[in-house]
């Protein structure tokens, strides 16, 4: 195995930090630099739409590691400095202040940029939620607001709606899709989730396109739907999906499609790798290209990519996994819970909102879902989907 003398990781969130830690754990002793556009030490994102937004956790609680662990990593953190260009052939990254950082290997872990509505950057009170600062800004508005409109019926939109409703706000959720989390979990489970939100008092406007924002005196006053309905709001959260943060890679020499295109090991070019939300990789088990936007992928893929940086040749073939917590519902999804699949309840009781469900396509189980049954869902995953996960290097 060959080992580089220096590694530069662009992005110091879960995927970047996990890659750094895995390199050290696997014996890498060379220079290690983590570069990030944000000024904060590595923090975790799942709590942002839940505990941090609700104010249950101080921002520090969301930090991924304490200072002793960061010190032990023996890495240089270059924070508050965005990467603006990569020369893949030279493994050289240019930053916003004009610095050029070179290394024997570059790992791209720049994650996602949230999509915005046309015109959303005009009025005050309109938010996206990706970073810690985004979460704190949205929280500031929520603590003063009475009416929130969430745009987007995916995981993030539903979590923001649940948190804000629990905080006592009047909440309306509008989305293009006809079912809450329909793209992620399909109609059967999505409809159950929709009923949960409705019971808790969230107004749902699904299958509704947003026509624009209403504003008065520079502040948002509502969201206009294509149906003509105006949803009054003093704060709006826009959660309509994200795009891989690859703008800075224009002219880099890399192939960028829906993310940085890598092989099964996370390699995008000689000496250049990508990991986490931004990485599109060949999944040899599924026989197709895949890009996963979930927290588990960030840490799991980091193990494979770190091993690849150190010369191992092991493909990344994960069983996708994500979870979402909304009100008292802890939902866990293993595998591919495709909207096209047939859903059957495996155990538990839907009426009591404690059950597991199986997703089947062509007679084969492709996904396992747990609703307030995390352990049972994990056991079903082991029985039906296997345990493939990228562990110690080969």
């Amino acid at each position: 195995m060959t080992s580089p003398g220096s590694v530069l990781i662009v992005g110091a969130s879960a995927a970047g930090l996990s890659t750094a830690e895995a390199l050290r754990r696997h014996g890498y002793r060379g220079r290690l630099t983590l570069l990030d556009a944000e000024p904060h030490l590595p923090y975790d994102r799942p709590p942002l739409s839940k505990q941090v937004l609700a104010g249950a956790w101080e921002p520090d609680r969301a930090r991924l590691r304490g200072q002793p662990q960061l010190d032990a990593l023996d890495a240089a953190f270059v924070l508050g400095e965005a990467a603006v260009a990569l020369d893949a052939a030279e493994c050289a990254v240019t930053t916003a202040s004009g610095r050029v950082l070179r290394a024997d290997a570059v790992v791209i872990a720049t994650g996602l940029s949230p999509c915005r509505l046309p015109g959303q950057d005009g009025p005050a009170g309109v938010h996206v939620l990706r970073s810690l600062d985004d979460a704190l800004a949205l929280r500031r508005d929520l603590t003063a607001a009475e009416r929130l409109v969430v745009v987007g019926e995916g995981v993030l939109g539903a979590e923001i709606a649940a948190t804000a409703r629990t905080m006592g706000l009047d909440v309306t959720l509008a989305g293009m899709g006809h079912t809450l989390l329909g793209d992620q979990l399909g109609e059967v489970i999505g409809a159950m989730l929709g009923r949960l939100h409705a019971e808790r008092g969230v107004r749902l406007r699904l299958g509704a396109a947003v026509d624009g924002l209403a504003e008065t005196g520079g502040r948002v006053t509502g969201v206009r739907l294509a149906t003509g309905e105006l949803l009054p709001a003093d704060t709006v959260a826009v959660a309509i999906g994200s795009r891989p943060a690859t703008g800075w890679l224009e002219g880099s020499g890399l192939t960028v499609g829906d993310g940085v295109e890598c092989d099964a090991h996370g390699r995008a070019a000689e000496g250049v790798y990508a990991v986490g939300d931004v990485a599109s990789f060949e999944h040899e088990g599924l026989g197709r290209r895949l890009r996963l936007e979930n927290r588990t992928n960030a840490t799991e893929q980091a193990q494979t990519v770190a091993a690849a940086v150190l010369g191992a040749d092991r493909p990344y073939t994960p069983i996708p996994y994500f979870w979402t917590d909304q009100y008292d519902a802890k939902i866990q999804a293993h595998g591919v819970p495709s909207p096209a699949a047939e859903v059957t309840i495996a155990e538990g009781d839907v009426a009591q909102r404690r059950f597991t469900a199986l997703y089947r396509q062509d007679g084969r189980v492709t996904g396992v879902l747990g609703w307030n049954m995390p352990k049972q869902a994990r056991l079903l995953r082991q029985q039906l989907l296997g345990t493939a996960a990228p562990l110690a290097p080969a």
Binding site: S18, P46, T296, T299, E300, A302, W323, P374, R378, L391
Partner: protein, 66 residues
């Protein structure tokens, strides 16, 4: 090696149990981590470090001080 787990951070993914079932388990009722062996033997150390590394809630801390 000494392991500590943060039950409040734990999201019940069960990744730790998949990797190191002799050291970690989950509660039946809510899936939160159960630490079976806070000071595991050396044969478990690599697996435990792996489990801590992939925990999607960063809820497992491993210290080398006994």
């Amino acid at each position: 090696m000494k392991i500590t787990v943060d039950e409040v951070k734990c999201c019940g993914a069960g990744q730790c149990v998949l990797i190191a079932p002799e050291v970690f388990d989950q509660r039946d009722e809510d899936g939160i981590v159960i630490l079976l062996e806070p000071e595991p033997g050396e044969d478990q150390h690599a697996l435990v470090r792996e489990a801590a590394a992939v925990c999607p809630a960063a809820a497992i801390e491993v210290s080398d001080q006994a």
